[in-house]
């Protein structure tokens, strides 16, 4: 216990298991008598489910059971911040993106489950598909969720924006757009579940990022007490935010309860692309003012984040993005508004940076454009506006330590061989 570790190289504790192929990831877990699940997914990005016919699929030898919404009336919606995600879409209800689940197929082999999924017939009544958040925000746009397509609006105000622009000699106004991005952890969503009838425990071996949050969400959705849900974290093959959300968990639990046998569900990569969270695409409208000496005076931002069909971490991501609208630069007068908007795209959630990487594209572009307009070396322009100890962020946080941005800029310029000037 007296051994010192600071300043010493320490090997990763599980590295040896990993180089030998011994580390157990969720899909590496096998039980005797285990069944395999496949999910029948939405057939249209925005439609009412009118009919679902599983009769051909259940007749396929090897299919043990097919669960539809009719079988689980007691099960509630789930979701990280807002419980807006259905476990299964029922008759008369809406599918809101291509990843919505319509049925859980449980079979003796993966192959049989895949075949059965393709035998399920679905009839839908199609609605207008909203893939553009700007369309979603229009007055006459159909509602994706009943409370409106703008899920959350956040405001930001610091100083006096009017005064700030009045002080500016140069003002630059632009719109930036970023795209969807998948986190692509190398391991897709996967898990194994068992239900112990005697003790009433559900055990789920699923790679998750927020075990306790997941546990609580699974419990409330199933109507189980929290202590009966055990989420066991096997080795996790990357996550990068994508595994914060529920994926296979509730479907596994339902299948384990229904069959009393161990069950496994592993997404295909395509399924992971279609059904699981993404980085939010942002539309960022920015107006920035600076003096002719090259000091920022005002920064106004409007952020529209496409959170897709469900909230996930959306309200927090877009909100946080807005707080970072000025990047690491001092601005006394800031004003912002951020909209988190529902569309029929794959839902967006957490990904490395949590809204800040999208903003970086906008604020760094603004800085370059301004530097050129002002005729100041962009590196110098950044340096003279960069945060110090004591700076205050747009949301008023005073930075008291670990402010390394100036050193970073200097070092980056040095490594890049930046000779100054305007290029």
């Amino acid at each position: 216990m007296t051994e010192r570790y600071v300043g010493r190289n320490v090997y990763k504790v599980d590295a040896q298991d990993k180089v030998m192929g011994k580390a157990k990831y969720p899909d590496d877990i096998y039980f005797d008598n285990m069944l395999y699940l496949k999910i029948k997914r939405a057939t249209h990005p925005h439609a009412h489910l009118r009919r679902i016919d599983i009769s051909k699929a259940v007749k396929l030898p090897g299919v043990v059971k097919i669960i539809t919404a009719d079988d689980i009336p007691q099960v509630k919606n789930f979701g990280l911040i807002i419980k807006d995600q259905p476990v299964l879409v029922g008759i008369g209800q809406k599918m809101r993106y291509m990843g919505d689940a319509l049925a859980i197929v449980i079979a003796e082999t993966k192959e049989i489950a895949s075949k059965a999924v393709r035998l399920i017939e679905v009839e839908v009544e199609e609605l207008e598909v909203i893939s553009d958040p700007l369309r979603a925000m229009e007055k006459d746009a159909p509602l994706i969720h009943k409370d409106g397509n703008i899920l959350a609006t956040h405001y930001l105000e610091k100083g006096d924006i009017k005064k700030g622009f009045a002080e500016a000699n140069v003002i630059v106004e632009n719109e930036y757009r970023t795209t969807f991005l998948d986190q692509v952890p190398l391991q897709v969503e996967a898990g194994v579940g068992i239900y112990d009838e005697e003790s009433g425990f559900i055990k789920l071996w699923v790679a998750s990022q927020w075990l306790h949050d997941t546990q609580a969400d699974v419990a409330q959705s199933l109507g189980f007490p929290k202590e009966k849900i055990r989420i066991i974290q096997p080795v996790i093959g990357g996550a990068f935010g994508k595994k914060e959300d529920i994926s296979v968990h509730i479907h596994l639990a339902l299948a384990a309860i229904a069959t009393k046998r161990p069950v496994k569900l592993t997404y295909t990569r395509e399924e992971s692309m279609i059904a699981q969270s993404k980085r939010h695409p942002f539309i960022i409208r920015v107006k920035t003012g600076a003096t002719k000496e090259g000091y920022l005076t005002a920064w106004q931002a409007e952020v529209i984040g496409d959170t897709g069909a469900y909230a996930s971490s959306g309200p927090a991501v877009v909100h946080k993005g807005m707080y970072h609208c000025t990047g690491p630069y001092n601005v006394d007068n800031v004003k912002g508004v951020a909209y988190t908007v529902y569309t029929n795209n794959t839902y967006a959630g957490a990904m490395r940076g949590f809204g800040t990487t999208q903003m970086a594209f906008a604020y760094e572009s603004q800085m370059d454009i301004l530097a050129h307009k002002l005729g100041i070396d962009p590196a110098q322009f950044r340096l003279q506006n960069a945060y110090n100890i004591g700076s205050s962020t747009p949301n008023g946080q005073i930075l008291t330590h670990s402010v390394g941005v100036k050193e970073t800029i200097k070092k980056a310029a040095e490594i890049a061989g930046w000779k100054g000037g305007l290029r």
Partner: protein, 317 residues
Amino acid sequence: MEEFPQGLQNSKDFSGGDSKKCQRTVPCQGYFAPQRIEEALEILSRYGKEIKIIAGGTDLLVQYYDRLYEINNWLDLKNIKELKEVKINKNQMIIGAMVTHTQLESSEDIKTYYPVLSQAAADIGSPQIRNRGTIGGNIVNASPAGDLLSPLMAYDAQFKLQSNQREMIVPAEEFFIGPKKTILQPNQLLTRIILPLPEEKTYGCWIKIGKRKALAIATIILALVVKMAEDNKTVKDVRTCLGSVAPTPIEIKEVRKKMAGKNFNQLDFAELGQIVEDKISPIDDIRGTREYRKDVAKEIMINALEEIDSARRERNY
């Protein structure tokens, strides 16, 4: 190799030389791995459309991902040794359909005579893909972005197609009829690729534009082969073949007319690039727009001509 316990070494029990026995026994059902071309053709004529020929499987297993059960019968060519050979026969190079991209890339003969083909093979996918993927699979799959197709056309390749009725030899140009469409019949096997040995002063250049250095399906491909006369200056003949710009690999024949008989030193590279740009009508797709492809086609044509020019100057005859 070590002796086998009860396994089916050489797949004798359900393929092997005795195809009659194979017909009747249960284990042969669904998977055949014959050792000779004749047996393969015989199985093929028996099953026709009901059997899938598999070589390296690098196209098929992607196409049938999660639905392999739809294929009831496989004809695996892996045991047919003669399809894996690269050999010179008089003034021709004969490449077996089962020759892998790795084999093409590492063959000294291919490197010497057909550098464009060699480089194209080296640029395919990744080591894992090159080790399994075959020239025959690349040809029959007939993707507009198939990397070997333009080089093969540029070297005037011919394909030997065999059924148990007859065999035929067709020029590459006639083989491809659309995206993923060829003249190959269900009872036919592509067995060999035949290339004329090039004349001494033949130069080639291979340019593939993709999104990454590895594992990139081409946005545009250019295979340029120029035959020079004895003087190493006068252009005798030229093949300008492009991929990923049309439903099939294509040759820009207008370039032939423009270049043949001319002194290479006096060629206008920009004009030739412009001809290539004008004569292609690519489409927009996820890998690039029509406009982008046209622009790039011109530029890579100019680059290729420059490269050939410097290679020519290096060789002092």
